[in-house]
């Protein structure tokens, strides 16, 4: 683990599937929204994880904290994008890693630690999305750590040359429309779409994380995309 690891872009490794082991492909950055979210796993981090998990199972808290550092930025990124709230993302982070700490002794290396921790996180996020659907909340604003509401999109600096207020306004409106369209998906469709489109995972990995097959994940993605296409049909 390099000394400056906690601040660098997280290469979420430790996945045991060859199709997820490709690194960051910057050439596709214009097409894929977030290639950085792809798992740039490599054998070294896999070995690291295995050793750390074994140490954590022996009760070594420092080893567990090291594991947390491997994955926590990816966990926060996913939870923040799904919940739209730093505060709720922090709660999911806390619950996920505490759950992992309590049950790391039961981890049997039947899948990678990466898949396991993501399973815990996605289950918590799915619970959150289900509760949100029940509450019928569709406010386009998010809530920060201090409990104050803010527009998610207004937090993204527009660094493009020649950016102007009119274009900025259009961008925000577009973001709000997309947010509404995503809210219309079922929690499972939203999750599959999030993991595939925004986090850049392979469908096989998405299936493993959600305890289903690649084919089912593909069908769910297909359904989600059709719905989004219907919701955003009038947009050019």
């Amino acid at each position: 683990m390099p000394a400056d690891a906690w601040a660098v872009q997280l290469a979420v490794g430790g996945c045991s599937h060859p199709d997820t082991s490709r690194g960051l492909d910057l050439s596709k950055q214009s097409q894929d929204p977030l290639p950085r979210g792809q798992m740039a796993g490599h054998s070294l981090s896999r070995i690291d994880d295995t050793l750390l998990v074994r140490e954590a199972q022996r009760g070594n808290r420092a080893a567990f904290e090291e594991l947390v550092r491997h994955y926590d930025q990816a966990v926060l990124r996913l939870a923040m994008h799904l919940t739209g709230s730093e505060h709720e993302a922090q709660d999911i982070y806390q619950d996920a890693f505490l759950k992992a700490y309590k049950s790391v002794g039961n981890f049997r290396f039947e899948c990678s630690f990466y898949t396991w921790i993501y399973r815990i996180v996605t289950n918590l996020c799915l619970d959150h999305l289900r509760k949100k659907q029940v509450r019928k909340e569709d406010a386009p604003v998010a809530v920060d750590a201090q409990g104050e509401a803010y527009d998610v999109l207004s937090q993204v600096p527009d660094v493009r040359a020649g950016a102007n207020p009119e274009r900025d306004l259009m961008r925000r409106e577009l973001g709000t429309r997309i947010n509404h369209a995503l809210d219309k998906l079922t929690p499972r469709e939203r999750m599959v779409f999030e993991l595939k489109h925004y986090q850049g995972l392979k469908l096989r990995t998405v299936g493993e994380i959600l305890n289903t097959t690649e084919e089912t994940a593909k069908n769910t993605l297909f359904r989600a995309t059709q719905k989004l296409r219907g919701s955003l049909a009038d947009m050019r």
């Binding site: 400056d4 601040a7 926590d72 994008h81 982070y93 700490y101 309590k102 039961n106 955003l232």
Partner: protein, 308 residues
């Protein structure tokens, strides 16, 4: 039929999940079929539109705050061990027993024999605890009264309470003395005693238990003097131990004592090229409330360009 297949697979094509031969087939078809070409264009447009909903990276402050909150909770959280597995996953331990009657019988016999042995011990009034042992167990210590070191000598005297006050003497290398010092750093209400114990422990920071205790004191001790002693003891490890570096960074960002933050800033100077340190320094240089810290952070950052 062909168009139907293309429509089903356009999504996989856009996400680069089609095998090479299928991709080639799809591209060939789209080049000839205007309907499918329009479908591909529409799917790409939707993909591009949805990609405009940005995924934000968590800020360093959020990551640090989340880690600290988790660390605090972990301090008081027990790992689910054998009993939890027994309760929540009975299948896991029943399975081998079910499949191996001999093992089940052996466990039964051992358990039965153990039970008889224990009963025999109790009936004979034998106490399993060796009271003559001078080593105090943590659970029997109620508090440390005082710590003193004779000038020019390696002998340390520690007065501690169990049921009645006791005194232990020995050198810093003595296991019993170390155990009491480690206990004092975490559990004593008297900050003077905590200060003395941290001060003595800084003489042997190579011991991982000692380093853990110093990290604990730096993060959680309520007395700034104790935290200052701890950070001094950890100073030489900032370069090589990531955990020490993170703790010093946390102190720099969050500690309430300006003196300690200044000390942390100086300790981090040799590792200012580290990206995590750099980010924190940039943040402090921009908007720290303490003018001195802000200027010092700017100063350290300005020196960086001369090196990098």
């Amino acid at each position: 039929m062909k168009c139907e297949w293309v429509h089903e697979n356009i999504l996989l094509h856009i996400y680069n999940e089609l095998p090479d031969d299928a991709r080639y087939e799809l591209e060939q078809h789209v080049a000839r079929c205007t309907d499918c070409a329009a479908e591909l264009k529409a799917a790409r447009h939707l993909h591009a539109t949805l990609s405009q909903f940005p995924v934000q990276e968590p800020s360093p402050n959020l990551v640090t705050a989340s880690r600290m909150r988790l660390q605090e909770e972990l301090e008081t959280t027990e790992q689910g061990g054998f009993w939890q597995r027994l309760v929540f996953d009975p299948g896991a331990w029943l399975r081998p027993i079910k499949l191996a009657p001999a093992l089940a019988a052996a466990i039964f016999i051992v358990g039965f024999a153990g039970g008889i042995g224990a009963t025999y011990q109790v009936m004979n009034g034998r106490n399993p605890v060796d009271l003559s042992s001078p080593t105090p167990t943590e659970s029997s210590i109620t508090g440390i009264q005082s710590i003193s070191q004779e000038p020019g000598s390696s002998q340390i005297s520690i007065r501690y309470n169990t049921v009645s006050t006791q005194e232990a003497q020995g050198s810093l290398n003595d296991q019993r003395i170390q155990q009491l010092l480690l206990f004092a750093t975490r559990n004593n209400y008297n900050s003077g005693v905590r200060m003395d114990s941290v001060d003595l422990l800084t003489q042997t920071p190579n011991d991982t238990r000692v380093r853990e205790a110093l990290l604990y004191a730096l993060r959680y001790d309520s007395n700034p003097g104790v935290r200052l002693k701890a950070i001094e003891g950890l100073g030489s490890y900032v370069k090589n131990d990531v955990r020490v570096r993170d703790a010093v960074l946390e102190a720099l960002v969050n500690d309430s004592n300006p003196g300690l933050r200044t000390q942390a800033l100086h300790l981090l100077e040799p590792v200012r090229a580290d990206s995590s340190v750099r980010r924190v320094l940039q943040k402090l240089a921009e908007n720290d409330q303490n003018l001195y810290i802000r200027s010092q952070a700017q100063n350290v950052l300005s020196q960086m360009s001369e090196i990098d």
